[in-house]
């Protein structure tokens, strides 16, 4: 009887806490839960053209985040994250593998936490209601940008665990850009032996996506170019890298507003692209890639490429705002 009373009180306190949270606090709670909770689930992801199903496993072992995300449809592709190291296992004929052979990536220096506490400066945050996702009760939080230079995001957060259950990205006309949704989600206590990635046999090819930086990367001021404009609230992450295309060094800078990110790549314009259009654009799902060949006073032209999960007009404005120092 005493146990029942305590359980009831505990439940009531949890319920009261959940009720009292503001939209911002829900996002903070989600961010914390995503980092600290062990969970396993299946989710569907629709990018406006293709629908895929993924198995998602997230475990904290010895204070390190370990994740495994497997593609359940089509060719095998499995992403593994062990702290700062991320690898992806693909089949021999995966085009991702061919791409990797051409581009030698740099390494990311540090990681950063998503600054959800500053989201309110650029987005209107609101609790819009309650729904049921993956057989769980979820609080829906709308994250609508104050300026139409980025997409609105709607998040369904599990009331019990504060884990993300569903997200929708929508454009300024409220059209769906992408949606992901867990179809089942379980939190669990995971034994280390149950989730050790290192000793696993792999059947495909393992590609090391990024590791910890081993050399100093010059600051953006040292490389002779800067950005005239980025959308308000986007901050340069500590992830500047240098990679290479053949003998050409590629400078890479990433910006994030806490929810979405874009990357800028600058390299000497390759001779093979002299006859290519001065400006070009590719769209993949919700991600836009734009390139500009820029002739600057120092001599040879440069190729500026911006990639981001942002509306086209915003990505183009960022690309056109890249200036080369005289």
């Amino acid at each position: 009887m005493r146990f029942a009373c305590i359980a009831l009180c505990f439940g009531l306190v949890q319920f009261a806490l959940a009720e009292e949270r503001t939209a911002e606090e829900w996002l903070q709670a989600m961010s914390k839960a995503q980092r600290e909770t062990n969970f396993v689930g299946t989710l569907s992801y629709f990018d406006g053209a293709e629908l895929t199903t993924l198995k998602y496993s997230h475990v904290i072992l010895d204070g390190q985040v370990q994740e495994r995300v497997s593609h359940l449809n089509g060719p095998k592709r499995e992403l593994k994250r062990d702290g700062a190291n991320v690898t992806i296992e693909v089949s021999q004929d995966d085009e991702l593998l061919q791409m990797r052979e051409q581009f030698e990536a740099g390494a990311i220096t540090t990681t950063f936490q998503q600054p959800f506490d500053k989201l309110g400066e650029n987005y209107d945050l609101e609790i819009t209601g309650t729904g049921r996702i993956a057989d769980r009760t979820a609080k829906c939080i709308s994250v609508v940008p104050k300026e139409p230079d980025r997409y609105a995001i709607f998040l369904w957060i599990d009331e019990e665990t504060c884990l993300l259950l569903r997200s929708e990205m929508r454009d300024e006309d409220h059209r769906l850009v992408n949606v992901l949704q867990f179809t089942d989600l379980k939190t669990k206590t995971v034994e280390p032996s149950e989730h050790a990635f290192s000793g696993e046999q792999t059947s495909g090819v393992v590609v090391d996506l990024k590791g910890v930086a081993t050399k100093e990367v010059p600051s953006i001021e040292e490389v002779g170019w800067h950005t005239d404009w980025v959308p308000k609230g986007f901050q340069r992450s500590s992830s500047d890298t240098e990679g290479s295309f053949g003998s050409d060094t590629v400078r890479n800078v990433m910006y994030s507003d806490g929810l979405v990110a874009f990357s800028i790549f600058v390299e000497p314009a390759p001779e093979s692209l002299q006859k290519a259009p001065m400006e070009s654009e590719t769209v993949s799902g919700s991600t836009v890639v734009v390139s500009r060949r820029v002739q600057h006073k120092k001599g040879d032209p440069s190729l500026v490429t911006v990639v981001g999960d942002l509306p086209k007009k915003t990505v183009w404005r960022i690309a056109r705002g890249v200036r080369f120092d005289p």
Binding site: Q34, L43, Y45, A49, E50, L51, T52, T53, L54, Y56, H58, V69, S70, H71, N73, G74, L79, A84, V86, I88, D94, E95, L96, M99, R100, F103, A105, I108, T111, Q114, T130, G131, I133, F154, L164, R170, D173, R175, L180, K210, S239, T241, A261, F262, S263, F265, P270, S272, L273, P277, S280, E281, T282, V283, G285, T287, V289, S291, L303, T305
Partner: protein, 196 residues
């Protein structure tokens, strides 16, 4: 197959479907081979319009998993108050515009014998607009801003490859720096073959 379900299917492919439409299309498609083929066709058309490359083997969704992944609409908080342009509405609007245009043309044709200068005036107006447009184009420096989006399919292979590589590189940045369920599914699902 009803035209309505095809319209809903098209809306799904265009990313314009409401949850209700999406649910209905998924339910219908589970048991309808023709609709599955239409889904593939519409996806291909959509891919071509977007400038994506088409693959020989078009991967079809797993309909049972898809059906399971979308709960009943009544269980989802409704956020569908957008002003989507319905195809039927578009057809209706187009009919009205065409009707008005036809009336105007017939009216001019009927009245022109009574107003001999009207044709010349219209021609002069058209000429002046054309000349003006040409003048602007020839006097301005070469504008390269238009060379994009619509002709993505004509991008040189080198540029397409570069775009793809930078896309993947961005994916990796996002995954390593702020990898969450919000970002990782996009990376794992990225289809190299469908991106120009």
């Amino acid at each position: 197959m009803s035209q309505t379900i095809k319209q809903s299917l098209s809306a799904c492919i265009d990313g314009e479907a409401t949850n209700e439409e999406l649910r209905r299309v998924i339910d219908e498609t589970l048991s309808n081979e023709e609709l599955k083929r239409d889904w593939a066709d519409y996806s291909s058309i959509s891919a071509v319009l977007r400038g994506d490359k088409l693959t020989v083997e078009k991967e079809l969704p797993d309909w049972n998993k898809l059906a399971a992944s979308f709960p009943d609409d009544s269980n989802i908080v409704s956020l569908q108050n957008r002003g989507r342009v319905n195809r039927r509405t578009m057809v209706r609007s187009a009919s009205v515009v065409l009707g008005l245009a036809a009336t105007l043309v017939l009216g001019i044709a009927f009245l022109s014998p009574f107003f001999p200068g009207a044709d010349d005036q219209a021609t002069n107006l058209a000429d002046s607009q054309t000349t003006s447009a040409e003048g602007i184009a020839s006097n301005d420096p070469v504008d390269v801003s238009g060379v994009r989006a619509s002709n993505v399919v004509n991008l040189p292979d080198d540029m397409q490859e570069r775009h793809m590589q930078y896309l993947l590189e961005h994916d990796k940045n996002v995954t390593v720096v702020s990898g969450t369920p919000l970002t990782i599914p996009k990376v794992v699902s990225r289809k190299a073959s469908t991106t120009p």
